[in-house]
């Protein structure tokens, strides 16, 4: 049973510059604990993949940190450099299918939505907002689609648009929920190239995925979870037959 496995594994070293520190986090839905004993921290230039089967609590973990789901106990601390409202400084890419893609807006409109938090009330986009949006469109390779209605996009293009909106937020902390769904392998590689460039520029990324192989190739750290953290650390340490077995074939 997973409960017998250690639940307090931390990512190694460098406590000096953590953007996010999670201690003994527990999230419950009613009486049922969805997630228990989560401990980890996230530093700049780390790209962490949260991996586990369906219902393992992967998305729940992201939502708990964002404050969208209430946690029952534990601590979530943010670096002061994220400002007074740290959760608002996190850029969150939701699952593609959670959005209404028949909504009558263009690609550029959606990416511009990423600027709303920075613009503030009663403001319209200024030159800098437009510049950031064009840059985000370019980085994600959707500049030539920018005037297209989002209803006319393929799965891979939709994902790029969501990434462009994420970039337009200009956040230090990036959360992604299953960004590889509905995406072919060529697009998958280019998505990872975009994310790797963000990591290298000093961002910290937390990505939910069930694609173990892709995560092992591209991410700096893996966190295997199935309602508890089964293993966490560098890919070559975590990626063992025993850990994977424990994550994916548990009694849940």
């Amino acid at each position: 049973m997973p409960q017998t496995l250690p639940t307090t594994k931390r990512f190694p070293k460098d406590h000096s510059h953590q953007l996010l520190n999670v201690t003994d986090l527990v999230v419950s839905y009613g009486e049922t604990p969805a997630l228990t004993g989560v401990n980890f921290h996230l530093c700049p230039k780390e790209f962490v993949a949260i991996i586990g089967p369906n219902g393992a609590g992967k998305s729940t973990l992201l939502k708990a940190i964002l404050g969208l789901t209430k946690s029952s106990s534990g601590k979530i601390e943010f670096s002061s450099e994220l400002g007074a409202n740290p959760t608002q400084a996190i850029s969150y890419v939701p699952q593609q299918q959670s959005l209404d893609w028949s909504f009558p807006v263009t690609v550029r409109d959606v990416v511009m939505m990423g600027r709303i938090g920075r613009m503030g009330w009663l403001k319209y986009p200024n030159g800098n907002d437009r510049h950031v949006v064009e840059l985000a469109l370019k980085k994600t390779g959707v500049s030539d689609l920018s005037n297209r209605p989002i209803a006319a996009l393929s799965g891979g293009q939709k994902q790029r648009v969501l990434l462009a909106r994420m970039l337009a937020r200009e956040s230090k902390l990036l959360f992604l929920d299953e960004p590889l769904t509905g995406v072919d392998s060529k697009t998958q590689d280019s998505i990872f190239e975009i994310l790797e460039a963000e990591r290298a520029s000093g961002k910290a990324l937390l990505m939910v995925t069930h694609d173990l192989e892709a995560a092992r190739t591209w991410c700096s750290h893996l966190m295997l979870i199935n309602r508890v953290v089964i293993a966490a650390g560098k890919p070559d340490v975590v990626y063992t037959a025993k850990n994977i077995e424990a994550t994916f074939s548990s009694g849940y």
């Binding site: 959760t87 969150y92 959670s98 009558p104 709303i116």
Partner: protein
């Protein structure tokens, strides 16, 4: 030419023309949110729920707009109260409150001698019976609704498209939703004067839906919605004058006709469209 000019010699017709244009244009804009958020049921509920307010104001000989607004606010609180206390789903709460309020309106109105005449006026509207004071009030409220929409458009759009993102960036999603409901309520009360309780939802939904079939951009949709609303309002009023048919219903029919025309003429299978 005489066809167009002849009715204009009557001040009541000119007032009706101005009033209907203002209201139908406003409905076309706010209707975009009603259509995109799937709120047509709430719009309809609101239209029925303000009925007793209008009747009450009518009986007390005060302005019916104020009576309607008061009832709209009471209804919003009532729906919230019932939903929270009963634990029922919101659509049940809306159903209970709106039919109850409507029945209250019918009972109130039955105390009037000219019951049948007044009932049909309130149910199907009387754009040719509005006063200049009503026009000014409509213009004022219309401008307020328009300005509020303009001010909070980007936030309201984000809440409509991606409420989770709106919460993540710290927008007060519940308050924005309430704001939208208040704007819809204001618009509904204005529109009831023109087309009546039963037909309001058409004005609120039909122009915006026609616009949605023609464009895949929200801003264009709002302008087209307003334009379609104004054109069907004006055409409907003229048709009603020349054919001697009820003006409110004729405006709605014209609007419906436009929608069917757009529906039949549009290219099928364009992915950018609905």
């Amino acid at each position: 030419m005489n066809f167009l000019l002849e009715p204009l010699q009557y001040p009541f017709f000119v007032r009706g023309l101005v009033g209907v244009s203002l209201v139908a244009g406003l409905c076309g804009v706010i209707g975009v949110y009603v259509v995109l958020r799937g709120l047509s049921y709430i719009g309809d509920a609101m239209a029925h729920a303000v009925f007793p307010g209008i009747v009450g104001a009518f009986l007390l000989k005060t302005n019916t707009l104020f009576g309607g607004l008061l009832a709209a606010i009471l209804t919003s609180f009532g729906i919230g109260f019932v939903t929270q206390r009963s634990g029922l789903k919101q659509d049940s709460a809306i159903g209970i409150i709106f039919v109850g309020m409507f029945a209250l309106g019918v009972v109130l109105l039955s105390s009037v001698k000219t019951y049948a005449v007044d009932l049909s006026r309130i149910l199907t509207g009387d754009p040719l019976g509005i006063s200049s004071a009503d026009i000014w009030l409509t213009l004022g409220l219309g401008v307020v609704v328009g300005l509020v929409l303009l001010a909070f458009n980007k936030e309201l759009l984000l809440v409509a498209f991606d409420p989770t993102e709106a919460r993540v960036i710290g927008l007060p999603v519940n308050r924005l939703n309430n704001l939208l409901l208040v704007l819809i309520a204001l618009t509904v009360v204005l529109a009831i004067q023109m087309v009546g309780t039963i037909l309001v939802v058409s004005l609120l939904v039909t122009s915006a839906s026609s616009a949605r079939l023609l464009t895949a951009r929200v801003s264009t949709m709002m302008m087209l919605g307003a334009a379609i609303g104004v054109v069907s309002g004006v055409l409907g009023l003229y048709a009603s004058y020349h054919l001697s048919i009820p003006p409110g219903a004729t405006v709605v029919l014209t609007n419906t006709f436009f929608f069917l025309l757009v529906l039949l003429l549009r290219r099928r299978g364009d992915p950018a469209r609905v």
